[in-house]
Amino acid sequence: MKNFTYQRAESSESAINLIAGNAGAKFLGGGTNLVDLMRENIEQPDALVDVTRLSSEIEETADGGIRIGAAAKNTAVANHQLIRQRFPVLSQAILFGASGQIRNMATAGGNLLQRTRCYYFYDEAAKCNKRAPDSGCEAIGGFNRIHAILGTSDSCIATHPSDMCVALAALDAKILVEGANGKREIAFNDFHKLPENTPNIETDLKDGELITAIEIPKTDFAKNSLYRKVRDRASYAFALVSVAAIVETENDLIKNVRIALGGVAHKPWRATDAENFLTEKTATEENFRSATEAELKAAKGFGHNDFKIELAKRTIVSALKELAENGGGK
C-alpha cells in the first residue's frame, strides 16, 4: 500500500476544507472497502480525511421519518429501535450483509460508496473499464457468474455489492451531501449510476462532496417489508440475487408495493415495471409472476450468469407471497 497523509475531521466543514482542491484525497470511513482496495493498489489516495467521528446520530425527523448520520455504524442502524419497527427491511438487509466485525466498522455513508467485487476490477492484470477507462472488459466473455443482468453496457457488467442500498432504494431514501458549493439532497435512485460507457463514474457525487446523512421518509406501510437474499453460502457472502420488498394490501388488492433488487445491476435496481404492474391488482402468485416477467423482460445473461434471470423472478415471487400472506399491514 502506498503511504499517505492522514487527518481526522472534527466537523463536516473541516472535512470539506481538508479535501478541497486535492484530487488525490479521499474521505475515510470504516475502511472495510477502501483499505482493502488500497492494499490491492486499486485505490491510491495520497491523503485520507477520516470522517468517522462526524455525526453518527440516528433520529426521527419532523415528518416521522428517520435521519441517519453518515458515520453511523451498520450495526447501530440495524439495531435501532425505530428502524426495526418501521423499516424492518433495512435492518434485515444490513444483517444479511458482511460479518459482525465488518458491520461494527462500516459506516452508512461508506456503504453507499462501496465498489464492485468484480474479480476483473480487483485484478490489476485484467482489462477493466471501471478501473482503467477504455481498457476493455474481461468479465464479458469471462467468468461472469456473479455479474449483472439488467442495465448492463458493452463497457461493464459489474454489480453493486451493497445489501443496505437495496433496502434504501425500496424506501425512497434521500442522500444529504455537503460540498464547497453548499448542501444538496440526492434522491436515492439518482445517486448510483448505470455503467453506460463511463463505468468509472459510479455516483452523482461531485468532487469534494461529503455524504452527511441518509433520510428515509415516513412510510407507514413499510412495516410489512422484508429482505430476501440468495447467495452461495448460508452466511457472509455477496448476493447472487436479493430482493427488498414492501407490500400493503387491502381486501387482497395491492395498494402499495415497492421492490428493489440487489446482485443484478450496477446499481440497486428499483423494479418499477413490476410495481406498476401490481398496483391495484389482486395479490395472487399469478400476478406476482407476471410482474416479474415484465421487470425481467429486458434482462440479458452473459453465459455463466444466465441463471440469475429466473432466480430473480422466483426470489421476487417468494418475497411478495410472504408479505401478502402477512396481510400487508392491514
Binding site: 499517505f4 485520507l48 460479518s99 459482525g100 466485525q101 465488518i102 452466511s235
Partner: protein
Amino acid sequence: MSENGTVSLNLQINGEKHDLQIEPRVSLLDALREFIGLTGTKKGCNQGACGACTVLVDGERINSCFALAVQYEGREITTIEGLATGDELHALQAAFIEHDGFQCGYCTPGQICSAVGMFNEFQNNLPSAVSAKMTGDYEFSDEEIKERMSGNLCRCGAYVGIVDAIHEAFDAEAKR
C-alpha cells in the same frame, strides 16, 4: 506528520498505553504484531474474510486488518492477551480447551475475541439474519451462534467444538 511520513500516536491496549511512531498506512493488526509485540492477534487473509485478526474496540469486535491504527487513538482496544485475569483464563478460553474448540489454534484468538463481542451484541438485543423477527427475545441457539460467528473461519473445521464452547461459557448468562 513528520518528514519520514510517520505520525506519533498513542494506543490504549489491554489497559496499557503504547506510544508509537508509525506510518498512517500501518493497520491496527500490524501495529499490534510488528510494533508492540502482541502476536496473539493473527494475520490470516488480511482482507476481512477470515476473522483471525478480530479484536475488541470499546467492547465491539472488529477486523484489525481493515483498521488503520491511526484511526483508533483514544479507544480501548482489547486483544486475546487482555482477556484473562492474571493466570485465570476467561471463561470462554477455558471452554475452548474443554470442548476442543480448535486443532491448529491459528484462528482461535480471533474466534474467542469475536465470540466475546458477539455475546455483547446478543445481550444488547441485536437481531441477526436468522432471527425470525426484528422485535427481540432471541434464543441463544446453535443457529444464532453460527450465523453471528460467520465472520470467523476455521480451516481445521472445529466448528462443532467452537459452538459448544460458546454455549458453555455464555448460556447461563444469555437472556432468554
